[in-house]
């Protein structure tokens, strides 16, 4: 079976010199949950934004295919990019919801890509879309806030609204670009559990970029590491070793890794939390 996501020889140069992505090639199968790690500036965001067709690569042999369709090739977006985008959910670090709209209106935006364009443009959403939006809000625990203005919510709540918007989109692939980087630990855990549930219960492919190694190990099965725009490591979470992390981040992360990995995929949650708190110190 064709992988759900195929990236081949993806290169993106900024300012004619700086290679944000340097011939990255990788495949992701359906129903995978992948962590994308790497230091700041290693190209994680740029990679995810290319997959969603929000930016274009350099000209040349760069190519991205998702769900058997071209997203972009040689620096040109596919002609039906909008329908492809509606099948790829994107969760942003800064949430990117519209502050002056209500929570419900924000979530309904998720149905724009699938609705007939006159409905979305005039705001005449179908009843089934409204139900879908409310049930998504219920799932992320934000139902009671449906009629509140989005800007009045806390960061963690805004991110849950953003996830509800993505749920309404009913995408097959979900990309999350450092979704927990600006959240407090409790909200971060809540968001990661939602992503895990979207992966496990709905069977979606999830790719999440993270700074926290411990979260990557706890929630994901596969870790892809980027360093200076190049694919640095790609493998299962189970057989990853401390050396990989010290090579990516420098030596300091090694101890965190040791503390965390011994509890990975176990149910020693209390111990894990302890390890998390050491990690954040």
């Amino acid at each position: 079976m064709e992988p759900i996501l195929q990236i081949s020889d993806l290169t993106r140069t900024f300012n004619k010199k700086l290679k944000a992505l340097d011939s990255v090639s990788l495949n992701v199968g359906s129903n995978e949950m992948v962590a994308l790690v790497g230091p700041s500036g290693s190209g994680k965001s740029t990679l995810l934004r290319h997959i969603a067709g929000l930016v274009t690569s350099d000209q040349g042999s760069s190519r991205i295919r998702a769900l058997g369709l071209d997203v972009q090739q040689s620096g040109k977006l596919s002609k039906n990019i909008r329908s492809i985008r509606s099948d790829i959910g994107f969760i942003f670090q800064q949430f990117n919801i519209v502050g002056r709209l209500t929570v419900l209106d924000n979530v309904l935006i998720g149905s724009l890509g699938r609705s007939p364009s006159w409905r979305g443009t005039l705001g005449r959403y179908h009843k089934s879309d409204k139900y879908a939006a409310l049930s998504a809000l219920e799932r992320v625990g934000m139902f009671e806030y449906a009629h509140q203005r989005a800007s009045t919510l806390s960061g963690g709540q805004q991110q849950r609204v953003a996830i509800a918007r993505t749920l309404v989109q009913k995408p097959s692939i979900i990309l999350a670009d450092e979704p927990i980087a600006s959240l407090d630990p409790e909200s971060a855990r809540c968001v990661m559990e939602l992503l895990e549930s979207i992966h496990k219960d709905d069977g979606k492919t999830v790719i999440v970029s993270l700074h926290q190694v411990d979260y990557a190990i706890k929630y994901c099965y596969r870790i892809i590491a980027l360093k200076a725009g190049r694919l640095f490591h790609d493998g299962s979470t189970l057989d990853i070793d401390a050396k990989v992390f010290s090579d990516i981040y420098g030596a300091r992360q090694e101890t965190i890794f040791k503390a965390t990995n011994s509890f990975a995929h176990g149910n020693a949650d209390i111990n894990l939390n302890k390890a998390v708190s050491t990690a954040t110190l």
Binding site: F95, N96, L101, T121
Partner: protein, 264 residues
């Protein structure tokens, strides 16, 4: 260590004083340059003081004998401003978006902006004179004059608001597979709406003021009466009309300020 700081402060001060001297020099230079052209003659205020006093006395007491006519024409003046502003707002939405460099390519925003510059450069009075010729004497010429000029102003203000938006929410809408028009409706407009409403109210206020003068060239409203009274040396009546204008404009300014506070 302290020497090091002193040197840094000194450098900062000398740079500041140089720019200050230069800018004052430019300001004073421009004022001198404009003196003769503007035929500045402050002495006339004193030598002709008696004349002016006599002239001013003619305004009092104000003559409100025809107050019903004045009020009726004042209402027409407001109605001219309402329609002039409303048409301008409707046209400024697409034109403002077409002038925003963060939404459209340069070959769209450059020509649109130049067209808006032209509409702005020509005063309402000039447009009023032209439209009086085109559609005849009366308030409709005034409406068209305000509409055209205000479109030039509002499209520029609207586009400045659009250029200051956060790109994040727009990208959020884009990532759901929305069309370009939907990106604007759901990502851009909610962000700029309070500013757009505020600018539109400002323009309405200033259009009420402008509507009082377009009448002087025959484009309807209280300006017609004002002009007839001034030409006929009926200064008592002129004063009454001016009082009505001042009161109406002040009331409308207060009202629109209220509304502005509500939307922001």
């Amino acid at each position: 260590m302290e020497q090091h700081f002193e040197a840094a402060l000194k450098q900062n001060d000398s740079r500041k004083s140089l720019t200050q001297t230069l800018s004052w020099g430019i300001v004073i230079g421009v004022l001198f340059w404009s003196w003769n052209g503007a035929e500045m003659n402050p002495l006339a205020l004193f030598t002709d003081a008696d004349n002016m006093l006599e002239f001013a006395e003619g305004f009092f007491p104000p003559n409100f004998h025809h107050w019903e006519l004045y009020l009726k024409e004042m209402v027409i003046t407001i109605q001219i401003a309402v329609w002039g502003t409303a048409l301008a707002v409707v046209f400024s939405i697409p034109l403002g978006i077409m002038s925003s460099e963060n939404l459209v390519p340069w070959w769209v925003y450059q020509p649109t902006r130049r067209l808006m510059d032209a509409l702005r450069a020509i005063n309402e009075m000039v447009f009023a004179m032209l439209f009086v010729v085109a559609v005849g004497l009366g308030p409709f010429a005034g409406v068209l004059a305000l509409f055209v000029h205000t479109t030039g102003v509002l499209a520029k203000l609207f586009s400045e608001a659009v250029e200051a938006i956060e790109p994040g929410p727009v990208e959020g809408v884009r990532s759901t597979g929305a069309s370009a028009l939907q990106e604007i409706i759901y990502g851009v407009i909610p962000q700029v709406l309070p500013l757009w409403i505020s600018y539109s109210l400002y323009r309405f206020e200033s259009n009420v003021r402008s509507a009082t003068v377009v009448g002087m060239v025959g484009a309807g409203g209280i300006g017609v009466i004002l002009w007839e009274n001034i030409r006929g040396f009926y200064f008592g009546e002129t004063c009454a009309v001016m009082i009505i204008i001042v009161v109406t404009v002040s009331l409308l300014d207060m009202l629109s300020q209220r509304i502005r506070k509500m939307v922001i």
